[in-house]
């Protein structure tokens, strides 16, 4: 997979390395900005209330 990407990047080794770095940073940004905030509530660290989903009942 990574080899395939590397081979399809344009330019010489330096340019390829630069583009790779930008790609990695972009992926990390998307993860931190969108994917992890979405995934995080699925873990138990958010459950700090005693009326989870029952606010309407009270």
């Amino acid at each position: 997979m990574y080899g395939w990407i590397w081979r399809h990047l344009p330019g010489n080794t330096g340019v390829k390395a630069l583009i790779s770095l930008v790609l990695v940073l972009a992926v990390v940004f998307v993860l931190f900005q969108y994917v992890f905030p979405w995934a995080e509530p699925l873990l138990p660290f958010n459950d700090v209330t005693v009326d989870q989903g029952m606010a309407a009942v009270r």
């Binding site: 660290f45 700090v48 005693v50």
Partner: protein, 234 residues
């Protein structure tokens, strides 16, 4: 060729998964804290700006200590998701101060402590109940188990300092035990109606099988113009 390809793809997948997990842990342990501290500072800053804008000029201020600490905000309901108070708990750190926001939704608790919308207003008769993260998002209630009877929980709404005193050691309960935020909380030992405060967070530290609760009663109030309450200066 094919075996080599399979092995290579498999190892690439493993490395990718490992990197993802490490990144996610970094996000949880570090980045949520950075973001939350930022958001909380902003909320507190905005509150203080609003309060100083709303406060009368010092010369026009009413004679402080003799004024009854009336809820001068009136019965205007708290705006959902908006900060309306700042909480100080000296036991959790001399500089521990967090904004209190209305509601207990996920996005609210990312920006501060959350007030259960169905419970009493700050300082009112009933049970002013607040939830906060134990871990991640700035770890506001990390040291929750250190709270002891007699500890002060000071909350300011911009016009009045409310000093609550904790009455018993943190109480461990189940996640669906909504009786703990009743106007007269169950299992708290309080008999009649009063001005109570309840704090809730998760237990164990990184889990969600239980909740940790602490109760306090309103001990003293004083107008903001009279200066900081003794519980904070001591």
């Amino acid at each position: 060729m094919t075996v080599r390809w399979i092995v290579r793809t498999l190892s690439e997948l493993c490395v990718t998964t490992g990197t993802l997990i490490v990144l996610f842990v970094c996000y949880l342990l570090f980045w949520t804290g950075v973001r939350a501290d930022n958001a909380m500072d902003q909320e507190i800053g905005r509150l203080q700006e609003r309060w100083s804008a709303a406060a009368p000029a010092p010369g026009a201020a009413r004679p402080g200590p003799s004024t009854a600490p009336a809820p001068s905000g009136g019965p205007r309901p708290y705006g959902s998701g908006a900060a309306f108070a700042v909480m100080y708990i000296p036991r959790l750190g001399a500089d521990w101060s967090k904004p209190v926001l209305e509601g207990t939704g996920t996005d609210v608790l990312r920006r501060g402590l959350g007030h259960y919308a169905a419970t009493a207003r700050l300082g009112a008769v009933g049970n002013f109940s607040v939830a906060g993260h134990r871990r991640t998002y700035g770890d506001p209630f990390k040291d929750f188990p250190l709270l002891r009877p007699g500890d002060a929980v000071v909350v300011s709404d911009g016009t009045t300092w409310f000093t609550y005193r904790i009455d018993r050691r943190p109480y461990r309960t189940l996640p669906d035990d909504i009786g703990v935020i009743d106007p007269v909380p169950r299992a708290s030992g309080y008999r009649g109606p009063g001005r109570y405060l309840t704090l809730t967070t998760c237990e164990p530290e990184w889990g969600h099988s239980h909740r940790l609760i602490t109760w306090a009663h309103l001990d003293a109030t004083q107008p903001v113009v009279a200066g900081r309450p003794p519980a904070l200066s001591g």
